[in-house]
Amino acid sequence: MDKLGINLGYLLVQIFNFAIMFVVLKKWLYEPVLRLLQERREMLARAVEDARVAAEARANAEQEAQKILAEARAKADEIIREARDRAEEQKRAILEEAKAEAEKIKQEALAEVEEERNRVLAELREQIAALAVAAAHKIVGASLDEQRQHELLEEFFAGVKGKKVVVLDQLETAQADQVEVISAVPLTDDEKRLITEELKAKVGDAAITFKVDPSILGGLIIRVGDQVVDASVARQMELLRQKLA
């Protein structure tokens, strides 16, 4: 043992030395360092936890935001659609109104024009009659008296001969709501009344409208439903030309 160098005294010195170092190192090295490690571990865990919570909160907020956004978008869409619908409706209403207005104005204007024309034509009728009588006078040579001339003209213009509407003879008895009477010049009130009476006798109660169309030159065209009686001068001249040709 002695040659190996093992000696109880030195052994004890080494053991106590180790004990002293053990205590010193434990107190002033291991405990602080372990505390530090512990702290760091806890801090890391806390940081990870915090990060996780933050991430969760952010995810939640994002979801919330998405939801709110979607809702807002849906609402906005609805509002826009409603507004568009309303605008559309308004537009249609305004357009319709405007169209109706325009139509009315046009109708009025047309009616006015018609009336004016009728008035002018009524004035012309006398002159035409006078011119026609004068011309006939020259051709036939004064053989026609005043009364006869008037009757001729009436027949020519209104198809009325001896207080009777000759044109109506061709009309078959029919039932209709609408009756249209077209003449070349405006008819006088007497003539209108006469035609009305006779038409009522033939087709019963019907709304009778009088129209003026100078292009038929003379006579009457009567339209009862889908039945047309063409007794106009223009028609007769057309028939004559076909016969001559």
Partner: protein, 330 residues
């Protein structure tokens, strides 16, 4: 591009330094040929007369005791540096303290993976043994340790001494006949503590003794059934006796642990330092550097092995031998 060239240039410088030192070593070896020193197992006494202290009595100061105190001082400096760094309150230590902390963290994690909740009790032993042995082992690498000391006259042979400077002497090879008989030898002031059996046996005793203490702490009186296992002796025919025998073997193995612990460390480091002498005297130029490198690793490995084995034995002592067996059978 420029950086690469500078790096290359520096490498060149280092290479030439190495070559320069090899050449210098060659001339130094030519001028003063190295001598194989005296090898002695027991630590040398530095004082001719015993130091008398009031309580302890008289004792001789040995060179390994000096080394032990140097180890203590180095460890205290480390403690002071790390403690000051920790007191600063930073969560991440820098520099040397950071390195120490990383080492301790590694040791602690190792302990925790093996011992679980007993890590806190076991860790200080593991760390203290590792640090002490590591510092002690690495002292071997310092030039001058093991080679500078008193010149002592020896009657059993030795070498001649030559004064190379006022008050400084060096051993030189004795010429011819003078090699035998009287001569001088060096008693180094510092000899690595690990090459003193007192140091290693003390550590081994503490390690084994504290293993028993921790075992009792963890399992109470049940711990001793590991050694004196009479539970199955009379109930189970053959295996009861075998278990009892195994328990006795465990008891013997506890004592053999002391032996293997102390002689493993002592043998490795003592053999290392002897190898350094021998290589240094046989091939004085450069070869010793490689052995120094090897000793560096041996020092780390032995320190870790001593600490880790202590830790593992302690962890096993806490876990309970019998329960593990029952678990294995059931």
């Amino acid at each position: 591009m420029e950086k690469a060239t500078t790096t290359k240039w520096r490498w060149g410088v280092h290479r030439w330094f190495v070559l320069l030192f090899i050449i210098l070593g060659y001339f130094a070896a030519r001028a003063y040929p190295p001598i194989r020193p005296h090898v002695q197992l027991a630590p040398e006494r530095l004082t001719e007369h015993p130091i008398v202290l009031p309580v302890i009595g008289e004792f001789y100061l040995t060179n390994t005791l000096v080394a032990t105190f140097l180890v203590d001082i180095i460890l205290l400096i480390i403690v002071w540096v790390v403690y000051r760094a920790v007191q600063k309150g930073e969560l991440v230590l820098g520099g040397f303290a950071g390195a120490m902390e990383a080492l301790l963290e590694g040791i602690y994690n190792m302990t925790e993976s093996a011992a679980g909740k007993w890590a806190r009790a076991i860790f200080p032993f593991f760390a203290t043994i590792t640090l002490m042995v590591l510092v002690s082992n690495w002292m071997e690498l310092i030039p001058g340790v093991d080679s500078i000391g008193w010149l002592e006259h020896s009657a059993h042979g030795g070498e001649a001494a030559q004064e190379i400077a006022p008050g400084v002497w060096a051993l030189v090879k004795a010429a011819g006949e003078e090699a035998h008989g009287e001569g001088y030898m060096v008693v180094p002031w510092v000899r690595v503590a690990s090459t003193d059996l007192n140091f290693t046996v003390a550590l081994a005793l503490i390690s084994v003794f504290m293993t028993q203490v921790i075992g009792v702490k963890a399992q109470g009186a049940h711990y001793f059934t590991k050694f004196w296992n009479t539970k199955n002796l009379f109930t189970v025919p053959v295996f009861g006796a075998i278990d009892f025998g195994v328990g006795l073997l465990e008891l013997i193995s506890e004592f053999s642990k002391i032996l293997s612990f102390s002689f493993r460390l002592f043998g490795n480091i003592f053999a290392g330092s002897v190898m350094l002498f021998v290589i240094g005297s046989l091939v004085p130029v450069f070869a010793q550097s490689l052995v120094l490198l090897l000793e560096f690793f041996v020092g780390v490995i032995q320190a870790l092995v001593f600490g880790m084995l202590t830790m593992i034995f302690m962890a096993q002592a806490t876990q309970g031998h019998g329960e593990a067996h029952e678990g294995a059978h059931g």
